[in-house]
Symmetry: C2
Subunit: 220 residues, 2 copies
């Protein structure tokens, strides 16, 4: 329900609409760009995967760069609503943390290449952060950290959380613990010497252990 799919708006009926071909191309483009990046991806490979002619890619999206941008925008928009939802929900800080960890691990476990894709692209084009992320949701995203900070200070005053915890740092730590293991999944998996199934269990178990790890770290 919070998922945002690829779409174009039909000017006449204002209905979400897209041709099957366009949809197939976008799904294949996502698959290939996620794994190989902008430079590594081949238009031919995307066309083959979608089962359409290569010329169709240019007919619908003009150029490789524009197709990539569409995929990138959609990837960002598949994440931000989830984050917003958790950060803005009415609940105490510890519930938010629990919820956020679950959401992050669930979301990025479904799309293992997503975090790498976004981080790599934003590293090479940092200006995209403004166009695609920080301006989203009416700029509300930039106000999340002050908001969390406020809630954190209140909890500190109540004595529920250590006084030396900083909101920016806490958020960075939560993101780190949830995303890094997924970004480096192949490395972790081979280093631990476990198969796909055990790796999935390891990651799913982390929804609990990471939450516990964080709560233990911030409690007085």
């Amino acid at each position: 329900m919070l998922q945002v799919a690829f779409y174009t708006i039909d000017q006449k009926h204002m209905i979400l609409k897209k041709t099957p071909t366009e949809e197939k191309i976008l799904l294949s483009a996502k698959k290939v760009f996620y794994q190989k990046g902008l430079k590594g991806a081949r238009m031919q490979e995307i066309a083959d995967d979608a089962g359409v002619n290569k010329a169709m890619l240019h007919y619908y999206f003009r150029s490789k760069d524009k197709l990539f941008d569409k995929v990138f925008e959609a990837s960002v928009q598949s994440v931000t609503p989830v984050l917003m939802h958790v950060f803005l929900e009415e609940s105490d800080l510890k519930s938010k943390i629990t919820h956020l960890v679950e959401m992050l691990i669930d979301l990025f476990l479904k799309e293992p290449y997503l975090s790498n894709f976004i981080i790599n692209e934003l590293s090479q084009n940092p200006e995209k952060l403004f166009n695609n992320v920080l301006h989203l949701e009416g700029g509300v995203i930039g106000k999340i950290i002050p908001l969390i900070n406020e809630q954190l200070q209140a909890e500190i005053e109540r004595g529920n959380i250590r006084s030396d915890i900083r909101s920016a740092e806490l958020i960075v730590n939560i993101m780190s613990l949830c995303l890094f293991p997924i970004m480096s999944q192949s490395v972790v998996q081979k280093t631990l010497g476990i198969d796909d199934e055990r790796m999935l269990r390891f990651m799913n178990k982390r929804k609990l252990t990471v939450t516990q790890f964080i709560l233990d770290a911030i409690e007085p």
Copy 2:
């Protein structure tokens, strides 16, 4: 001192030796490959950066792939000795954690693209993990986790550490907290809206706060 540089062994004198041109190429190749990856990098750009003719790259390294492999090997070898050194030192677990966090943040802060580079490359070619990492140091690396596990169990029995902490998970968490913020540095920096200098301070301060965060999380 733990740094491992690019080198070739002079057969006659068994001395580390390399021509200035070769060295310049490798340094420039490192710079360009780190930032743009294998597919994004251009041989011409590497040559320009090194101030040598493009043909020289092929004279010394035959192909782009072989040049890339040299850079990748060197990148891995700039990390593993540091990790080994910390993991194998004779000290209690908490000292090791403190030391490891400092080392990781210092090392990867000096080379901000290094972690992204290694993770991305290993994600696309997981078999390189065996050739370049797990086989290193006589395969000792695979024995680190059991070794840490042993030390962890001893500390748990002494009541110094929570009984539900697992060694694999602890190592993954430490790596996450140290590396992810550096991998996503541009995103974090722009989201927090701070300049380069404050970002550097933020990261350096993390050497203390991350250590504290981890120790608080694992204490009973």
